[in-house]
Each structure stands twice: as structure tokens, then as C-alpha cells.
Amino acid sequence: MKREVSTQDTRDFGSRIDTIVLAILIVAMCSQIDPLSLGRDTLAEGLGYATKTLKIALCDIALVLATGWFILRTTQQKAWRKIWWSPLPCWALIFAMILSMIHAPNVLNGFAEAFEKTGGIKGIIKGITAKEPKEAIAEIIQYGFYFVVAPLLFVNWIHDRRSGNLIDRKKLAINAFAWAVGLNFVIGFGQLILWRSTAPRGFWTSANIYNVFLATSIPLLLTLSNVNKAAPKEVNAWWTFPIAFMTSPWAILSSVVGIVATSISQRKTTNVWSMAWVALLFFLAYSTPRSSNAIIKNRNEHLRVGSATEVVKKQYIEWYAATRWSVPQGADLGGSPQQLHHFETGVGPGNYQGNIGPYYGSLPNEEKMPPDSNNLYLVQAVSIGILGLAALIWMSTHFAHQARIARKLNPDDWLAHGLLGSLCAFAVVVLFHAGIVRGMSLVLAFVFALCIVARETAEAKVASKEKNFSEKMI
């Protein structure tokens, strides 16, 4: 539906709260700070064993509170018919995950075993909170918030039509995001100086996810020139600066892929000069004394084996181990003759870690896996099956298609080019670092929302040009 985009800003109190909540959500999503956790930390209590606790990130809290505010505000404005709703592919992903959960024998067995001990309502609660069902339900709720609710919030706040007039918060949203990325990099740089051997991670729990965050953000922010017209174009090259300080070679590769994709989309060579600048920074980074250089040490960790007995790094062995999900269990692992995992629906959402161990078979399973170093495509395929992986790809390509349409309608718009570059970078980096985690998922949802915003802006511009043309003809 084509709607005219204007930039009128009605400064009522509710609208200001919307603006503040949007800014807070964008800043909070660029982190993995965990102020709360559910469950007992048995290791810290000295009980001698570890129990998995459910960590609740700041971004998750911000998302839930923002959702509550959005519901209240939209109800107060009676504007439910005016809002943009998440498209079919987002709902399809949730459906595929629910289908995976009910079709996974280990999830159902986990529920049944816990239910049988008590029975009744208490039994149902025990069943739902048993290990496998709990992981599945938690993952479905998380994905529901990340890929159905979050894009809805972002689109409706950035292009807010609930009051009848359009409130355009695109500039605020992009600038808030840029500031959050910049702050992350500044903190990461400070960590690099303070921690001589540990990889910098900004506000994230692992250096790998911090790298995924930067790799996804940089191609988008590199095309920032049109938003802040006062800033000279050369400033944008500074957004490539963080690439030289990334500790994951795969994130570096992904950033380059994203920048090249943006350049091809824009048909400009400006970004090629940015890459030359990065190459110079690389040279400078490698020229510093090796013994104190955390970047080089951590970068090398990704490329060399961890011990004398290891031949190939564990994360790559696990890629092949994961393919065993396609083998009917009875035929291979000596279990029951019935099939206990399914190619089309997987082992159940959130149950990858609990099932991957036996898949190793005779493959070496010695070293500990570095955090956030799985292959996202295989993790999703094993967890939610080929249907779930297809739904995830469907959702991503749907939003990428919106950005392509925006680019076609308005080739001068920087946003569409940056978004395509960002999505390309994300598609590559998740081969090596499973990036759908707390915080980063919201960044992805934000990128999806911007694809819709870009398309709406482009359609409005075309409509405005046609209107001007027809008025001139009259």
C-alpha cells in the first residue's frame, strides 16, 4: 500500500515518550549486558556442579518494556488498524519452530517423563519446565519477540502513523544506532589497551559476537553520508576503522564482503578507497610488537589448532558432526529402530547443544568449543529442521527484497544500499559465528525494519515526483 511520507512531528507527550523508548531500545540492543539470571548458579554456590541458568539481557528487558508501552500507547490512540504488521515469513518461522517442538520425540519424552512423576496441573508445569521442553519454549518465545514483535515496534516507531500524521524518526534511529556502535568500539578499544591478551568485546559477552555486530553494522554505517549532510563524506571512511581491530578473520572477511556488496549496489568506488584505508591500518596493526598485541594473538587463535593432539579446529569438525542429523537414528547410532530426529523438523528448538554430542561418532571431540563459533545454518537445520532453516532464509530474503525494491525505485537513497551490504555481511559471518543471540537478533530485526522504512520512503518519493509532474502538466 503506497502512503505519502511527510516529516511532520507532533510533539505531544506520548510521542516524546515513543522517541525516548525507541532510542533506549536501539542503544540497549547493541549489548549483551545481563543484569538478571533465572535459576541457581550451583557452581558459584560451591555445590561442585554446574547448572545452566537463563540469563536475561538488558536488551530483552528493554524489548519487553517497550512492547508493553507500544501496546498501551496504540490502544490509547485506537490505532491498531493503522500499524504495519510483521509479514508472513516472520510468522512462518514461529510456526516452523512450534512444529519442530511438537514433532521432536526427545522434547515430548522430556515432558512426558516429568509429567508422569506428578500428574495434573503440577505435572504439566513440571513437564513444561523439564530441560528439553523448557529450552524449546524459551527459544520460541525469544524468536517471537525478536522476529515478529521487534520489527513491528521498529517500523511503527520509525514511521509512526498512529496519530494520523506521519512522524518520521529515521534520522534519530540511525544516529542512535551509529552512536551505540561507536560507543561499543570505544569501549572495545579501551579493553584492548587494558587487557593485553584477552580479545576486546565491547558490551558483548564474547569477542566473536562483538565481531559479528561490527561486521553487520559497518556496511550500513559506511553509507551514512546522506543522513547527516553537514558531515563531510570523508568522515564515513572512519567507519572502516574498527575492521582493523577485529579479532575474527571471518568477521573481517564478512565486512569486506558487505562493503563490496554496498559498492556494487551503489555503483561507486568511494568504498574501495575506504578499503584501501583499512589495508593501511592492517599494516600498522601488524607492525606493532607481537608479544603485547592481543589482536594478532586472538586472530591467530581462529586459524591455528589449540593443542598438539588437535588436527582440525573443533568448530569445523562439528560442522560435519552436525550433518549426522540427517541419518535415521536407528540405522546409525544403535538406538531404537524408530526415528528420533527428523530431517524436516530437527531435534527441537534450543536443543542443539543437548543432541550434538552423540553425533560426533568416531570424530575427535576433545577441545572445548570457543563461545559463539558455531555455523548458524547447521545449528538451525539441526534444531528446527530444514523447514525452520528455510523459514529463516525466507524471512531474510523477504526483507532484502524490500531493500532491493527501494534501491530500484530510488537509486540515490543510501539506506537501501547499506542494508543490502549489511545483510550480505551477516549472511557470510554466520557461517562461522552463529549470530542469532541476545542483542544481535535485535540488531538484525532493526536492519529488517529499516528495509521496510527504505521501501516506504522510496515509494513516497516516487509518488511525490509523479504528483509534481502531473501538477506541472496541468
Partner: protein
């Protein structure tokens, strides 16, 4: 002269429409036949399979026999997604229920001949037969399914080739080729099945028919394996 050209063109279009109708009907009948094979005793579904059939049947009845059906029928992507999901679940049972097939020996597993089941051959043949239909009426959902299968295939082959440089390859060796072979086999089977589902939803009439048939098939499967099942050993 132009009238003659128009009438020839109209005749051509009518013939093509007849072919499309025939192919879509073939796809619908074939998918129903595949579902019927899941009724066989050899299927041995788990409790999760039966629960899934029941839940999907319930959802299918809502989609097919309530006012919601107009939205699904008119939205080809939604209908194709729903039908593909259900058919995939049913097929995973069907492929276990029919024994026998063509034996082939692969270089990677010379001592263990691989069996290409008749049902998977039938699915691949159907995908080829209905190709004019699904090629003309492609959907983004089917494209996503094929992309997912292609990504899994490429990663599996690439990582196998990489690990084969460091570990010995063999059924009893460190690097067992069976997961790679099973992955490739299932990617081809489910890819062909997704294309047949795309063909089955290409025309509004066949789409409507599939949406109504599927819940009844699912109910039949659930009832058959719940009330008239052969004794099944539950997995530990």
C-alpha cells in the same frame, strides 16, 4: 488474418491451460498417494508423530473449513508454505513405511550398498514431470526451501572434502561418509518434494483441493496409528 492469429493463440492458450490443470491434478493425486503410504504398518510412528498429525489436522480443519480459508486460498505463498510443511512431515513417515528400492554401490561406501527407495524415485520423477508447472509458477517460499537445501549440501560437501585431507575416510574409520550420503539423499528427495508441492498449489483449483484433502488425510493417519496400530516399541 488477425482474427485467425487470435483464434490460434486462444487455442494454444486453452491447450496449455488443459496441460496445467492436468499437471496440477497429477501433483495433488501423487501427494495424496504418498500420504496413503504412511498408513502402512511398516511406518511405526512415534508418539510425537501422532501428536503432530493431530495438531496439524486440527489446524488444517480451521484453515480449510472456516472463513480463514479464503485468506489462505488467495495467498499462494501461505498455502504453499502450509502444504509443504504438512507434506514434509507426512513424507518422513511414508519413506520409512515402504521397503525396497534400487541398490547402488558408491565409491565412498563400497561394502555397504545404498538403497534408493521406490518412493524417493517416484517423488523425483514427479518433480521432473511437473517441471513446466512449478517453473512457471515459482514461489519465494519454494525458493527458500531449495536455498536451505543447497546451503546444507554445499556446507556438507565442503567440510567433508576438507576433513578428508586430515582423517581417514571409511565406514569404520574416523570420517564416516554415511552422514554426507544421507544428507545429499534427503536434500534431493525433499527438494523434489518441495517442487511437487509448488506444482500442487500452482492453480487455485488444485490449491483449494489440497487444502481440503490434507486435514482429512492427517486425521486418517492419526486415527489409523492411534486406534489401529501394530504394537510399537517406544524409544528410551
Amino acid at each position: 488474418m488477425s482474427t485467425h492469429i487470435h483464434s490460434v493463440e486462444a487455442q494454444h492458450n486453452t491447450n496449455f491451460a488443459k496441460w496445467e490443470n492436468a499437471l496440477s491434478l497429477l501433483a495433488v493425486v501423487s501427494l495424496s498417494a504418498i500420504a496413503f503410504t504412511a498408513l502402512a504398518n511398516g511406518a511405526r510412528p512415534t508418539t510425537a508423530d501422532k501428536l503432530t498429525f493431530f495438531v496439524l489436522a486440527f489446524a488444517g480443519l480451521i484453515f480449510a473449513f472456516t472463513p480463514l480459508r479464503h485468506r489462505i486460498e488467495n495467498n499462494r505463498e501461505a498455502a504453499t508454505f502450509w502444504i509443504t510443511s504438512v507434506v514434509f512431515v507426512i513424507y518422513s513417515l511414508s519413506r520409512r513405511s515402504i521397503e525396497g528400492g534400487i541398490e547402488i554401490k558408491l565409491a565412498l561406501l563400497p561394502d555397504t550398498p545404498q538403497i534408493i527407495s521406490y518412493i524417493s524415485l517416484a517423488v523425483c520423477a514427479l518433480a521432473v514431470l511437473t517441471s513446466p508447472l512449478w517453473w512457471k509458477h515459482r514461489t519465494s517460499w519454494t525458493g527458500a526451501v531449495l536455498s536451505a537445501l543447497a546451503i546444507v549440501t554445499i556446507i556438507s560437501v565442503a567440510i567433508f572434502m576438507f576433513l578428508a585431507k586430515f582423517y581417514t575416510v571409511g565406514e569404520l574409520e574416523i570420517l564416516d561418509p554415511l552422514p554426507l550420503i544421507e544428507t545429499l539423499r534427503q536434500c534431493i528427495e525433499f527438494g523434489a518434494l518441495a517442487l511437487v508441492c509448488c506444482a500442487a498449489t500452482a492453480l487455485p483449483t488444485s490449491r483449494r483441493l489440497m487444502l481440503r484433502i490434507l486435514p482429512l488425510l492427517l486425521l486418517t493417519l492419526w486415527a489409523r496409528h492411534t486406534f489401529a496400530a501394530a504394537p510399537v516399541e517406544e524409544a528410551e
